[in-house]
Symmetry: D2
Subunit: 132 residues, 4 copies
């Protein structure tokens, strides 16, 4: 594989940026984009249905540069809300159902980044759990 | 299944609306939402990768009300553009790659709606191919 | 303006489709797409901020074919939740905050379509309020 | 303003993460999310229309934590392509039209991040231009 394009891209960054900082930036871009992509997809609250959707998403986001692995989980609330009882009663992927683990390797830096709903903050928290 | 919610929803519509017109409206909503949901997902231009992504999408959109079947195809251009030769060279689902067939049954009306790229219009055309 | 492209598009539709049905389909596509586009935008819960965002959205969607007018309102819940008290405490446009009125004229058919949160259904209801 | 939530969030991050790395991560999240949010909005290729849309977007994304300023520009290609000559001939915000400058201040770190179309890469490049 040619590394010309990577060098070209590198030229746009501030000179003082470290490889670790670049890895953190990449992780942020990927989580931000992934999160906005998967929200609002419909689902049936059955294991086989959720697995098929998750697998499609994982296959997709694994195609991106620097991604070693990605594990996207859709976790509907266990309140029976999505047991279909009428026509409009199916699930939609909402922010509080999303649980993501993303493993990147950016030029030798290994990084594990996550999206997890933080009920204390009422917010989908994105964070870097490990970096080496 | 309770049909209360459907009756409730019906009450919001103009009295002169026919069941066929409602079916057409439903088809439009679903195509509009589906199209905007699947754009910009990354993919590797390999058959197995595309199939996994397509299956996930199909499983998802089959969960929606009135949907009998849905067939979403991602058709990358056959120009070798997405053969990975450098880090940034992966595919992104673009409007001109999307090919969708959606079969609805809305209260007895059967309808086949499609999204197809119309190169003459440079536009992703959405249309109703059959209605009975 | 040339009407060639419209004729071209017409050729894809089932022959039995009426102009009213086409208008309903168009309304559905536009509401489905619009709804998915505006969700998840951040906002400050101040009148001037909401007005600027709404105006930008309205200007955008008025550019589409057949649209006579569109009025998109973001209505945050009046519970003080979005009074900024910490860094993560800003608003995100959620489905239950969206209120849309879309006026279309499709080949002589006038149509008013809406998106309104239906608390009874826990669902953003899309419907056609008037068609003439 | 309470800083409890920020401390809570901090607790999720790897201990070795520096403030600069956190700032880079935040910049990535914001660019990734912003980019996916603004794509596919329709527009009329007139100055006043583009300005109204841009202002709405800017107002929105300024509401986010740590954002000092944001300047989103939609730059349609100057090829006359979006001069309306028929019903389907309006613009849609595409990746190659997006030009963004985002200024963050994260706990004393000032950072300028950008999205710019890189024709050499056929790719919307996101990068950090300055960090201090």
């Amino acid at each position: 594989m040619s590394d010309e394009p990577e060098k070209l891209a590198d030229g746009f960054f501030a000179g003082s940026i470290t490889t670790r900082e670049r890895a953190c930036f990449e992780a942020g871009i990927k989580l931000g984009a992934l999160f906005h992509s998967i929200l609002r997809f419909p689902f049936k609250n059955e294991k086989s249905s959720l697995i098929s959707i998750q697998e499609g998403f994982n296959t997709s986001f694994k195609a991106q540069p620097y991604v070693k692995d990605v594990d996207i989980k859709i976790v509907p609330p266990e309140d029976g809300k999505y047991t279909k009882s009428h026509e409009f009663d199916y699930g939609i992927i909402q922010d509080y159902m999303v649980d993501v683990t993303l493993k990147l390797n950016y030029k030798g830096i290994d990084l594990v980044a996550k999206i997890k709903w933080a009920p204390e903050l009422n917010y989908p928290l994105m964070y870097i759990e490990e970096i080496t």
